[in-house]
Point group: C2
Amino acid sequence: APSTLIIDGKATAATIRAELKERADALMAKVGKAPGLAVILVGARPDSATYVRMKRKACEEVGIADFGVNLPVEASEDEIVAAVRAANEDERVHGILVQLPLPEHVNEMRVLSEISPEKDVDGLHPANVGDLALRGRNPRFVACTPRGCIELLHRNGIEISGKSAVVLGRSNIVGIPAALLLLQENATVTVCHSRTKDIEARIRDADILVAAIGKAHFVQGSWIKPGAVVIDVGINSVDDATKKRGYRLVGDVDYAAAKPVASAITPVPGGVGPMTIAMLLQNTVEAGERALTA
Amino acid sequence: APSTLIIDGKATAATIRAELKERADALMAKVGKAPGLAVILVGARPDSATYVRMKRKACEEVGIADFGVNLPVEASEDEIVAAVRAANEDERVHGILVQLPLPEHVNEMRVLSEISPEKDVDGLHPANVGDLALRGRNPRFVACTPRGCIELLHRNGIEISGKSAVVLGRSNIVGIPAALLLLQENATVTVCHSRTKDIEARIRDADILVAAIGKAHFVQGSWIKPGAVVIDVGINSVDDATKKRGYRLVGDVDYAAAKPVASAITPVPGGVGPMTIAMLLQNTVEAGERALTA
Ligand SMILES: NC(=O)C1=CN([C@@H]2O[C@H](COP(=O)(O)OP(=O)(O)OC[C@H]3O[C@@H](n4cnc5c(N)ncnc54)[C@H](OP(=O)(O)O)[C@@H]3O)[C@@H](O)[C@H]2O)C=CC1
Ligand SMILES: NC(=O)C1=CN([C@@H]2O[C@H](COP(=O)(O)OP(=O)(O)OC[C@H]3O[C@@H](n4cnc5c(N)ncnc54)[C@H](OP(=O)(O)O)[C@@H]3O)[C@@H](O)[C@H]2O)C=CC1
């Protein structure tokens, strides 16, 4: 369809960041304090270091104080836990994020569950996931990427209630919380994964498709229901000799083939990706507002 | 089909209770202590009083010590919370259950979240629901009715992995945890509710149907996929002049019409119902074993 809406995550994220800057400024004007984020980075994986740098830069722009901690790759689990606990106790810190993955010798689950649920801006603490799953409870924080997906739907006027939503993938950081959010928004939700049979038929049935499996161009254009809304979370690199770096990033959906069939679609890059950091900032500003104006 | 398996929840629950009695006896032999359950009942609703009486009787049979508390209907929220906290601190108590519904003036959510996640035998604490939703975490407790549904499937040799499972209803006590359990067991899971469109088509697609909406005979026999497994959680009373009490209990599925189409089906009563108490006892014995043999 010539009228397919290309959902512009970059522009939406920029709008949200501008809104958040206003909220942080207002907080500063009111109580003389900024929302504070502690990003805990262990080791020096180049990808993790890049993500952390992007997060810290974004914080600075919005007016979030940065209480980042860098630990060497040899840091013991106890040392990492100690850094988390120090951030839990630090009144200037309203959000704590442990950059994943942690080194092999560290029990990620144990470290993550040490983060106070009150400061869990990544929304991965079981208490916050439980509050998301249960009706009648408001989670303090929702995982950033799924929250970004829903925000894109909301800000583009896409109705969710009563729609058939299919989530591909059931990871803790994307698939599961995305499914719980869509259910909260009154979609009829189906979760698919590597054991799903006839996944093509499932996808054909989706009014709203959220793809988060990490397989380049897995979803073919012909599988998309005409008029469906496609939210592509996947970030996969495929060889591309025409690019200077030798590869390019693509989603889990064959974008070019799906676009003419869908009524709305997120590109990769520039769709869900920029929303993840925006939602991290939003979770942090909200936590700061709650703590400082309570 | 003449060979439809009638899933006998009463017999399965009796088997489980016998197993639990052995485990409680073994614990007593080993450490000289019994698993302990505190059922907190507020007010005197006849249905609640009946349920609590059944639970206490079942505890006694299995060898679970009863630390029940009865509070008057006028008890304040703070008094109920105080009873929960006392049970949290009591070392003889391994499981705490607050009988619902609580009187109107009480905030149920607040009371429930006071129960220590370590003693939450009802499995409704957000921390335990979060652990159920997240992969790689083991919830200490899973809600009794959904756990009973899965146990019926397991003990009847019904495979779940790779199957299409449809859950009707999304309540905190049945639908949501049932969906999360089925997903954990590698089913492809769809959750339907009052906003679902074309629910009949969803049901037709189910290899495993879990019905928990509380509408007598809502699911028609012709909607069942031939060979499907039907787990009927619903308990609804319908007028019946042939009965002395003037009504009888039926499920959410039209049992007589669904039975010939299904490969296996739970009757109402005598299907899921008896499993709920059995799972409460199991959660309590497991909690006792963890606490007393740690
Ligand atoms: N835009 C952003 O900011 C973010 C993007 N991402 C991207 O999203 C994608 C998913 O990430 P993440 O959730 O962390 O991935 P995980 O690897 O943790 O999970 C992948 C999920 O997809 C399922 N899956 C894998 N292969 C198939 C298949 N062939 N058919 C059906 N299901 C399959 C897996 O099933 P099973 O459970 O059975 O193994 C699993 O549930 C990645 O490309 C990642 O880079 C992730 C986070 C943020
Ligand atoms: N066997 C046992 O031990 C137990 C049996 N039960 C029985 O199970 C049934 C469900 O109980 P419970 O989960 O507490 O019920 P709730 O009333 O809490 O939830 C009912 C759910 O069904 C959905 N629903 C209601 N009407 C329809 C409809 N027409 N079409 C589709 N969905 C609908 C609701 O949707 P929405 O969310 O959109 O409102 C809601 O999610 C009851 O009959 C109850 O007696 C319950 C617990 C234990």
